[in-house]
Amino acid sequence: MRVWVPLDAAARALGADAVAETLGREFTVTRNGTRGMIWLEPLVEVERDGVRYGYGPVGPGDAASVAEAIRTGGEHPLALGPVEELPWMKAQSRLTFARVGMIDPLSVEEYEAHGGLAGLRRAIGIGPEKIVEEVTGSGLRGRGGAGFPTGIKWKTVAGAKAPRKYIVCNADEGDSGSFADRMLMEGDPLVLIEGMAIAGIATGAVQGYVYIRSEYPDAIRLMEAAIGKARQAGILGPSVLGSDHAYDMEVRVGAGAYVCGEETSLLNSLEGKRGVVRAKPPIPALEGFLGRPTVVNNVISLASVPWILTHGGAEYAKLGIGRSKGTIPIQIAGNVKYGGLFEAAFGMSLRQIIEEIGGGTASGRPIKAAQVGGPLGSYIPHWDFDVPFGYEELATKEGLLGHAGITVFDDTADMLKLARFAMEFCAVESCGKCTPCRIGSVRGVETIDRIAQGDETGIPILTDLCNTMKWGSLCALGGFAPFPVMSALTHFPEDFRGCREPRPIIKSREAAE
């Protein structure tokens, strides 16, 4: 009997290793990725007659009784029934995450048995130009936050003349509330490899790099192991799946700088330099890594490509709304009852996502706001939750899709403190190249501290400062840090006014790393 216990970092953080050890004494345990239902982790599954039955959340203390229930087929209070039938699973359109949680992440055979490599095979068959056409036709846009059309980026690199080109995967997923990249790299690393190989064939790049943040040791280990497996299977190497195309790749590890999630800063870091942002132009598609044409795409963008090549770009473009095509892995996090990853077509309202799917707050208190799109995303107040989840749609609420992470806060949240954190984070993580970000963020912290001490003359100064940072910064760090600050100030002015009761003075550089 085959038993599954996730190896995903979130499952491990909730005791999955101990559970796997206990169950491993009796059964053949496979470590899979997570299904994304983090509130049910560790989620133990057992396969009977081709159907996978779940138990969860199985803490280390429950492992022995679950083992007995599996052995005897008896009832157990943590039994969930067939996992695929759970409402959370049934309501999704899992394209990019189809195999995450399903298979052994390091088994090429299982990967292939579940539809893997079909996209790469078709890509080899149709050739570079048609690949770019499919990706362009899919309407896929950068899932890292900027939302730039992936097909156009590829076309630029494909058309550039250079002795050597590169595919760089941005796996520097530093946004709080986001874990889609981590979950994918831990649960189905081969799909990212396949997507990057397709990008390599489409653009004529023979070398790829996955730049993974050092805070993700599990993802680093699994990606490296998967690359080894892919080389053995002939997916990577001088002849990709026996074709005339050569493509290989390796993992590079970041060193704790948030700003390296910005593509030009990431390229400098890959080159072994300070992770300082570069001015654009030149765009990385023409002068990227080591000055050569480079595709820089986010993990989810690249991992969506194999599905698009398998089923066709038109099929992908049928999903979604407006200019937001296809599916988006929504990460529901923070103070929420049912947190996890939910892949769905664009277009659900924030209210549906947070209240229906997420089940409201974990604390049981009313929701105050949700920060969408990471630390540089706006705080969207609960009364604006009817906005549809899409790039342009969120922009109408001064919001940012970002990496599609949603962090929920209940009514105890102090918006002034969160605004201060955003400024302080920007100050600590600024690469220092441009003045609005480097100096503005420090002044921002000081000004918010003044407001916290009851000096309301600081409010117009903060507003003006945010405007300067927004329009004067070189990259999204300084340019978007004003969004959480201004959204907090605009929607929750009561948290900024009448601060007559002196608050404890926060020591600088304490909140962020």
Binding site: A10, A13, M183, R252, E271, L290, A511
Partner: protein
């Protein structure tokens, strides 16, 4: 807690690390990661040698080492406890937890316990945002962390190390 003296062994090992990466595109970060894995920090003495080997100035190498949060100029305690400080963890009480942990350990951020056993570091996001607040100690991760769980994690790490 000083850097290793520049002896033959140190230079030999350093040259091995440099040689292992020198042919790669952009070798400096992989080299620095290996140096830190070897000595627990990036000894200042290594920097001129790196500069020479990679055709960089000492200032450029120092600039890189000092830019990244991960690279330290001095060793930390035997174990490093990292508490996430990011927004998702804040929404679940990370600030209060951090205060409790600092009080319980008697150390502030970036400090090491007097016995040299444990260093406390903040971290911005471990990607465990759906089971916040989170903590990390070596290979061990903690979701829905509270003071009791953190204490247990620290105690277990101490036992494993025989400390």
């Amino acid at each position: 807690m000083t850097s290793p003296a520049i002896d033959a062994d140190f230079l030999l090992r350093l040259d091995e690390i440099i040689a292992a990466h020198k042919g790669r595109e952009g070798p400096l970060l992989p080299i620095l990661h290996d140096i830190q894995a070897e000595w627990g920090h990036v000894p200042e003495e290594a920097q001129p040698r790196l500069a020479e080997a990679l055709g960089m100035t000492r200032a450029e190498v120092y600039g890189v080492v000092s830019f990244y949060h991960d690279f330290r100029d001095h060793p930390h305690g035997r174990h490093v406890l990292r508490l996430c400080r990011a927004e998702a963890c804040q929404s679940m009480g990370a600030d209060a937890l951090a205060e409790e942990v600092r009080a319980a350990l008697g150390i502030d951020w970036h400090e090491t316990t007097p016995d040299g056993r444990l260093t406390l570091e903040p971290v911005f996001c471990l990607g465990l945002c759906a089971c916040a607040p989170s903590a990390q100690l070596g290979d061990r991760l903690l979701g829905r962390a509270n003071l009791a769980k953190v204490r247990q994690l620290v105690a277990e790490a101490g036992m494993e190390a025989g400390a």
